[in-house]
Amino acid sequence: MSRCPSRGTLDAFADGQLGDHEAAQVATHLDHCPMCEGYLRQLDPLDDVLAALDAPEPPPDLLAAVRAGRRPRRRLALRIGMAAIGFALVSAGISSAASDPAIAAWVRLALVLLDDVTARPVVLRAAVGGVLIVSTAALALAARRLAPVRRGALP
């Protein structure tokens, strides 16, 4: 659409009454026609209503932190924490896989659970991570004690 659409077409577009094809043509035209774009925006009274929701100014230290290239502390701590838990579980899995497939299976399940809780609050993530590490360590310890029994070498 090289020529500007009529007022009637623009009004119909604003009301969502155009067919898909014609509406797409108008929308594409609006991308490079400030006059039609301005007309539609001025026509839209929702702008006035939404203007009541005035966002606050960001705190000055936010810009300072960005300029210094600092990531948010909470996110950084969470990433490090989750990485540490994941690393511990993977290490436990590798070290126990050779001796006990059951523990290796448990570690795999634990990693899936850990991945699932990454979208949960921090307290829950910490609790789940702690439980997983402790239970994995306990299982590994138990497996090590039972290994001679399984092999038939009674103490």
Partner: protein, 188 residues
């Protein structure tokens, strides 16, 4: 501020981005000054929580400044930035249990001169906030991008990686829902 003034022209913005990508500190500062408040307000409107909005803005802007070499100049810089910011907001929403947006009432700057007007404006803003929060996320994000960030339909489609028709439908439906939610009194 000259560094910000020269951004008014798209070619100048492209040059500024190229300089920032090359590590020019003044260009990086100019980009940070221009985009940090925008991303913060965008996140504030999508998330309804000040602290989360600050963290998202800080995280997104630091990531953007660190990956300017990956920016494709054939795309508009604004759509690239809003796409990253929008994804960060989605991650943030998934990460947390929904928190009440009530603290925003106290944090909003006073828009009116008299106490009576302030109460009236605050109540009106609360209703708009509640209506916006009540919208499904897919409607809220297109409404915020169109009405607050002043992106065009085509730009929103690019930022959200959606077909143009889908964006138009969502905007129309979002408007209708807002009208319903705000009731006849505030209805446009």
């Amino acid at each position: 501020m000259r560094a910000l003034e020269i951004l008014e022209h798209p070619d100048d913005e492209a040059r500024l981005i190229a300089r920032a990508a090359d590590g020019d500190p003044s260009a990086r500062d100019a980009l940070a000054s221009r985009w940090t408040p925008r991303i913060y307000r965008f996140a504030w409107r999508l998330l309804g929580h000040d602290q989360d909005a600050q963290e998202v803005a800080q995280d997104v802007m630091v990531r953007i400044l660190g990956s300017l070499d990956r920016y494709d100049p054939s795309r508009k810089f604004s759509t690239w930035v809003y796409a990253i910011a929008r994804n960060a907001c989605i991650d943030e929403q998934r990460r947390r249990i929904r928190r009440p947006s009530a603290p925003l009432v106290g944090e909003r700057p006073d828009p009116a001169p008299s106490p009576v007007m302030r109460v009236f404006e605050a109540r009106r803003a609360d209703r708009v906030r509640e209506a916006l929060d009540a919208l499904p996320a897919k409607y809220r994000e297109v409404l915020v991008l169109y009405h607050f960030e002043h992106l065009k339909y085509v730009e929103i489609a690019e930022a959200l990686d959606l077909p143009l028709g889908t964006v138009m439908n969502r905007i129309f439906r979002a408007r209708r829902r807002m009208r319903d939610l705000l009731g006849e009194e505030d209805a446009p």
